[in-house]
């Protein structure tokens, strides 16, 4: 901090000495241009006052900054002291624990080595015994035991090989299976197509029903026309009968007229003529058939 203060005083003197010639030069120029000495001195005093206050503010800011740095440095020193304290404690703890740990490691290692040694000796004994047994049995059965085992092993291999091959094929088939998303999309497309097909078939069915109804209506109209034609035919027959009867009557009258003075009233056989007309005309009962409503006796089976 003393160093920082010394540096601030030096800078003040440096700036003041540097500015003095400039100030004096300014006074001279101002005086030459007619400015009164009072005004010049007043201006110089204002300049010195401004410079002084700026320097004062700058020094105060500098002092505050220095105090802040001093407090920060104190805090850091305290923290470093605390860390060093913890480190020291850890070192003492490690120094206390390390001999104990090394002792435990040595004990477990020795124990493990002992176990390994015992197991290996035990297995080696078992292997030797098994080998002795195998050798003895092979010698007893002339090597058939080993051959039997080999055959059993081969049989098991043959039995399992197809299963392994099938598993491999299944795995390949599974890998080649269609993606679920594709299946669902295909199903959706099929359902949509089926819906459209059913809709089209429904329209065809409706059109077929409409055509059938129209066909029935046309058939009914044709039947009505056929019945009407029968009536027309009947009327034409009647008219033909009437025409023929009138012609016959005309001929009869002409014949009578040709008799001249020999004719008499009996020559016109009215009853016979009427009877003849009635015979040619259809029966009275058929008149009822001109009415289309009477359909009780239309069909009779014998």
């Amino acid at each position: 901090m003393q160093q920082i203060q010394n540096n601030a005083d030096g800078k003040f003197l440096y700036i003041s000495l540097s500015a003095l010639p400039v100030i004096l030069g300014g006074m001279v120029v101002g005086w030459q241009y007619g400015a009164t000495l009072y005004n010049v001195l007043f201006s110089v005093l204002l300049v010195f006052f401004g410079i002084g206050s700026g320097l004062f503010l700058w020094r105060r800011h500098d002092n505050e900054l220095a105090q802040t740095n001093f407090r920060w440095a104190q805090d850091e020193n305290s923290k470093i002291a605390a860390v060093s304290t913890y480190t020291g404690e850890l070192e003492r703890l490690l120094l206390t624990i390390s001999p104990i740990l090394s002792q435990h490691v040595m004990v477990s290692r020795e124990h493990t080595e002992q176990e390994i040694t015992s197991l290996s000796s035990r297995f080696s004994c078992m292997v030797n015994e098994l080998q002795l047994i195998v050798d003895s049995t092979d010698n007893a059965f002339g090597g058939r035991q080993s051959n039997h085992l080999d055959s059993v092993i081969d049989a098991c291999r043959d039995l399992l090989q197809p299963i392994l091959d099938l598993l491999g094929q299944l795995r390949q088939a599974e890998q080649k299976a269609v993606d679920d998303a594709v299946l669902s999309q295909a199903e959706a497309n099929i359902n949509q197509t089926l819906a459209l097909l059913s809709q089209v078939l429904g329209h065809y069915r409706d059109d077929a029903c409409a055509l059938r109804n129209h066909a029935e209506q046309i058939r009914g109209e044709i039947n009505n026309v056929l019945v009407a034609l029968q009536f027309q035919d009947r009327v034409s027959q009647i008219l033909t009968q009437v025409e023929n009867n009138l012609l016959n009557l005309q001929k009869t009258i002409e014949r009578i007229q040709q008799q001249g003075s020999n004719r008499d009233g009996d020559m016109l056989e009215v009853d016979k003529a009427v009877e003849h007309i009635e015979e040619n005309y259809k029966s009275v009962s058929s008149r009822a058939k001109h009415s289309p409503d009477d359909s009780d006796d239309d069909l009779t089976f014998f």
Partner: protein, 122 residues
């Protein structure tokens, strides 16, 4: 194969009306203007049924039916009388001659076709 029906009627328009009704139902038709004309056309051709009027010139329907029943080839051919007559005497005479049914004019095509469907030879 379509079945063949003979129509015997002196009215050309009536033969045409009956022909339209029968052809519409799938039958083949042979026309005759009276009994004598019909007998001349029964020369061995297969006839599955005959529809005949009664009041016809030259040979009436009752006489025609009796003549058909004398033909060995056609004595089992069913005959339907199609007429305006309704008298019981005429019906009795037609029945005794060998007719199988009686349809009065004017006829409804469905009624005639129903009678034909019931009697036509297989």
């Amino acid at each position: 194969m379509a079945k063949t029906i003979m129509i015997v009627d002196d009215s050309a328009s009536m033969r045409q009306v009956v022909s339209i009704a029968l052809k519409g139902a799938g039958y083949e038709v042979i026309e005759a203007c009276d009994g004598k004309d019909a007998l001349s056309k029964l020369t061995g051709v297969k006839i599955h049924l005959i529809v005949s009027d009664i009041n016809m010139p030259v040979m009436d329907g009752i006489t025609f039916v009796k003549a058909v029943k004398q033909l060995d080839h056609y004595k089992f051919t069913p005959i339907i009388m199609l007429t305006t007559e309704m008298e019981d005497d005429k019906k009795r005479a037609a029945k005794e001659a060998g007719a199988k049914a009686w349809v009065t004019k004017p006829f409804q095509p469905p009624i005639l076709l129903a009678a034909i469907a019931k009697l036509v030879l297989p």
